[in-house]
């Protein structure tokens, strides 16, 4: 043996926490007392320390990025909308009651309202994910990090916690784990949770009495969203419609309007979009094409102009409801969207177009975004199939 040969690393880097983890590790390993919590333990372990796993085959060096990093970037991108949403919850309460809280007080009010929802969402969802990971003997995947924070952001603030828990459980089990878990689902789990609530408890999910939180948890004050106002408006013509609206365009752009926590502020969502686009996590093709699709459909309706809603300037659709939130955070979910670059354009355009169409045509549901995305989730594989088929036929033609 020559002297240049190997000495094994001692493994740890002497971090005190690492020593603690190493000490309790045998308890959770195969044969240990708590081996049934193995996946859970490993989930926390890899959260604390990047594992010392080295490459075995294939490329000997690997990119520094992993799925944890990608997911946490999306969570960071959601932060502006979440923080603004918390303030807006308090602000809407203050507006409705006339109580003076100050902006810190308003934010705190919203934070206290929202915190239980986030905790419930994560606890239920991660609990199920950990259980499935243990049953299937695989690691805990990071997908729910994003879903868990999105769900409280897209439901009314007055949603009862038990309903929220039920919706999260339904979405994770039926829409995700049943198809094999992270990366295998074809419907966006967060939207499935919202759809579940929407169809199961419609009285808690729409109307004018769910969007503004009252003093007590679960209670709500009256306050209509712009979409709701348009839906119930009886004023003739688009001018009457706009005059009757209680919110200015600026209100809607900044987000000081009633609505789901995360969806109201276009400014905060655009900040998140900037983060997603700069880091390249979300597809700019989808984001851009959803906006384009919505705009084109809006313009088409403007041109037809058969009723007041059709005459509504197309850009109002961007400002109202969950259009922008859906375009930035939901339509771009890489698992449930189209996977080919060309497919992404088609997918996005149709989402935008359908969202606006559903809003204008459907008398029962004021918001079209959720259903448009879920619908296109179903069609995404078909779109990809067609795009890939074009590649296949190019290859076959070349052969001749």
């Amino acid at each position: 043996m020559s002297d240049w040969r190997y000495v094994k690393n001692d493994g740890g880097n002497g971090h005190p926490l690492r020593r603690f983890v190493d000490r309790i590790k045998p308890t959770f390993s195969e044969g240990g007392r708590l081996s049934r919590l193995h996946s859970t333990f490993e989930g926390f372990e890899t959260f604390l320390f990047t594992p010392k796993e080295v490459t075995r085959q294939g490329a000997h060096i690997r990119d520094a990025a992993d799925l944890k990093r990608s997911m946490i970037t999306v969570v960071v991108a959601l932060m502006p909308a979440l923080l603004f949403g918390m303030w807006n919850v308090g602000h809407q309460y203050a507006l409705a009651t006339g109580e003076h809280l100050g902006w810190m007080g308003e934010w705190w009010f919203g934070f206290i309202r929202l915190l239980p929802m986030i905790v419930v969402s994560y606890a239920v969802g991660l609990g199920i994910e950990f259980a499935f990971a243990q049953i299937r003997h695989h690691d805990v995947y990071e997908g729910f990090l994003v879903t868990g924070i999105i769900i409280p952001m897209i439901v009314p603030i007055s949603t009862p916690l038990w309903q929220l828990a039920l919706a999260v459980a339904f979405a994770v089990v039926i829409a995700k784990e049943m198809f094999g878990g992270t990366g295998m689902n074809f419907l966006n789990p967060a939207l499935v949770a919202r759809a579940f609530l929407f169809f199961s408890y419609p009285t808690h999910m729409s109307g004018d009495n769910v969007w503004v939180s009252a003093k007590h948890f679960g209670d709500a004050l009256s306050g209509a969203t712009p979409l709701g106002e348009i839906m119930t408006s009886t004023a003739p013509g688009v001018d009457g419609l706009l005059q009757n609206m209680s919110y200015s365009m600026m209100d809607m752009f900044v987000g000081v309007i009633p609505g789901s926590v995360g969806e109201t502020s276009v400014v905060a969502i655009l900040l998140g979009a900037a983060i997603l686009l700069v880091t390249g996590i979300a597809s700019w093709r989808i984001m851009f094409s959803v906006v384009l699709g919505g705009g084109l459909m809006g313009l088409l309706f403007n041109a037809i102009g058969a009723n007041a809603y059709m005459q509504l300037p197309f850009y109002y659709h961007y400002l109202m409801g969950g259009f922008m939130f859906g375009a930035v955070f939901m339509a771009t979910d890489p698992v449930t969207s189209a996977q080919t670059n060309c497919g992404k354009w088609i997918y996005g355009l149709l989402i935008g177009a359908f969202a606006v169409m559903l809003r204008v045509f459907n008398p029962a549901y004021p918001e079209g975004m959720m259903l448009a995305i879920l619908l296109m989730n179903c069609f995404a594989p078909l779109i990809d199939h067609c795009v890939v088929a074009a590649n296949i036929s190019y290859r076959k033609k070349r052969m001749k």
């Binding site: 020559s2 002297d3 240049w4 040969r5 190997y6 000495v7 094994k8 690393n9 493994g11 740890g12 880097n13 971090h15 926490l17 690492r18 890899t46 604390l48 320390f49 990047t50 594992p51 010392k52 080295v54 085959q57 294939g58 490329a59 000997h60 060096i61 690997r62 990119d63 520094a64 990025a65 992993d66 799925l67 990093r69 990608s70 946490i72 970037t73 690691d139 995947y141 990071e142 094999g180 990366g183 295998m184 700069v278 880091t279 390249g280 597809s283 093709r285 890489p334 996977q339 080919t340 670059n341 992404k344 990809d384 890939v388 590649n391 296949i392 290859r395 076959k396 070349r398 052969m399």
Partner: protein, 484 residues
């Protein structure tokens, strides 16, 4: 001369420790190994026993499935060991050089005769000398089969992989051999001989004009230098078609054989990487054991990995606790890369800003630095001087090691492979088809056009840490064994 082929998709990885243009003669190395694992799908039939005396060019083993694939000793000497692994699989035949043994047979060819030889005779000489195994066929990446009719032969005369040798430099002094080798290759096909060069390559001027030799100039990041990329850009492979390829130094060995009648598998290899004390070139014979080189170039007792080939698609050599601990260079490789092992924990590694970590993705700040990397690379190519310390967002050097930087996950993100995969193929869809083993779909999506190394960058950037090259190799082997 055709126009410039611009390769837009890809990525240059700024791995430190490039070889200086300085060659050390290491032809006196004592031990050599020929390894079946260096070739795809070889079922070896051993032809020698321990202690046998062999000449340079004496077959050591052959492929049971391909009678033309004979694997020969690079030097004259004695068979020192027949190394076997699990279930007695042949890992290597080790030959120890012995000066007293006659060099070996002479193939009695002369320059004039080259153009008068029939194709059959050329084939016979290549097979008997073992030079046949220096070519590779696509699909499947095996040694060419006797009944192959290649529609074209490709030689990529530059390499864009991290720390790859400069072929202008390594072929220096053997240009005549190289050109003669090209003439030999030209006789093996009725189609064209395509040569890939990068801009301003001197070697291209030495190649004579011929209506069947086409020179192409490529410009762009890695994998522009991969022969697969060049095939796809020039004349993609359809189902049922066969294309051969060879590497410049092997072409020179073939040329040398036909010019002098001597089998001399000489090559200049780069010994490079962040762990190497003074990265430089070594003149060796194929299959050399680099024990001496390692002991003078590598620090004592540190934890590193020796890779024959580049870091993306090379193979690990001198693996501890296996029968083969001597670092024998792989048959087709002209680069040895040494990088540190990465078996350490990192506290909250996924959360840290990661300024010294290289990433294709812009979730790390270093991911923003691609323009600078490309500029450096260009500068680097012009003169092998370490890039100057201009202003940079991130530090000058990235630390690369064998850390996975995460665990394997399902394929979640989309649209990223496409950015480093310059084929008219949907990479993600092809990988998925390979995972489920859908043969028809794989064929439709273009599996015959690719080799695992073409997916190396996809594997590198994949945040889900999928073993893509392994998946593609398994799929290709399935197809090959099915005989489709």
């Amino acid at each position: 001369m055709s126009g410039i082929v611009k390769i837009r998709k890809g990525l240059d990885i700024p791995l430190g420790g490039a070889a200086q243009e300085l060659t050390v003669d290491a032809r006196s190395v004592a031990e050599y190994a020929v390894k079946p694992m260096d070739y795809v799908g070889v079922v070896p039939r051993l032809l020698v026993a321990e202690g046998d005396i062999v000449g340079a060019g004496t077959p050591l083993f052959e492929d049971k499935n391909n009678e033309w694939a004979r694997f020969v000793s690079p030097v004259a000497g004695r068979v020192k060991a027949v190394v076997r692994g699990e279930r007695r699989a042949l890992l290597a035949v080790v030959v120890e050089r012995d000066e007293s043994v006659p060099v070996g047979r002479n193939f009695e060819r002369d320059t004039v005769a080259l153009d008068e030889l029939s194709r059959e005779e050329i084939q016979r000489v290549l097979v008997e000398s073992g030079c046949w195994t220096m070519m590779r066929r696509r699909p499947f990446g095996t040694v060419p089969l006797p009944n192959d009719h290649p529609k074209a032969i490709f030689v990529s005369c530059f390499d864009t992989a991290p720390l790859a040798p400069d072929y202008d430099y390594v072929v220096q002094g053997r240009e005549e051999d190289f050109v003669a080798g090209l003439r030999v290759l030209l006789r093996l096909t009725d189609g064209k001989l395509h040569l890939g060069f990068h801009k301003g390559q001197h070697l291209s001027e030495r190649v004579p004009e011929d209506c069947r030799i086409e020179k192409h100039v490529f410009d762009g990041p890695h994998p522009a230098g991969n022969v697969g990329t060049q095939i796809a850009a020039i004349d993609p492979i359809n189902k049922g078609e066969v294309v051969w390829s060879a590497r410049p130094q092997e072409v020179a060995v073939i040329g040398h054989l036909f010019l002098t009648g001597e089998y001399l598998p000489e090559k200049v290899v780069a010994f490079a990487g962040p762990c190497v004390a003074s990265p430089r070139y070594y003149r060796i014979l194929a299959g050399a054991g680099l024990d001496i080189v390692c002991s003078e170039q590598l620090a004592m007792s540190s934890n590193y990995r020796i890779i024959s080939g580049n870091v993306l698609s090379g193979s690990r050599i001198a693996v501890p606790d296996t029968p083969l601990v001597t670092p024998f260079i792989g048959a087709a490789d002209d680069l040895v890369t040494v990088i540190p092992e990465g078996d350490y924990y990192e506290f909250m590694g996924w959360l840290m800003p990661g300024l010294n970590k290289f990433s294709f993705h812009r979730t790390f700040f270093s991911g923003f630095d691609k323009k600078e990397i490309r500029r450096q690379r260009r500068r680097h190519r012009r003169s092998v001087r370490e890039a100057s310390r201009s202003f940079r967002l991130v530090p000058n050097t990235y630390s690369f090691d064998t850390q996975m930087h995460g665990q394997q996950r399902p394929l979640v993100l989309t649209g990223e492979f496409e950015q480093v995969f310059p084929f008219r193929i949907y990479p993600l869809q092809l990988i998925k088809a390979a995972v489920v083993g859908d043969i028809e779909l794989m064929e439709d999506l273009g599996i015959y056009e690719v080799e695992p190394e073409d997916f190396a960058l996809c594997e590198f950037i994949d945040p889900s840490k999928t073993e893509i090259q392994h998946i593609i190799r398994e799929a290709l082997e399935t197809l090959r064994k099915e005989g489709v």
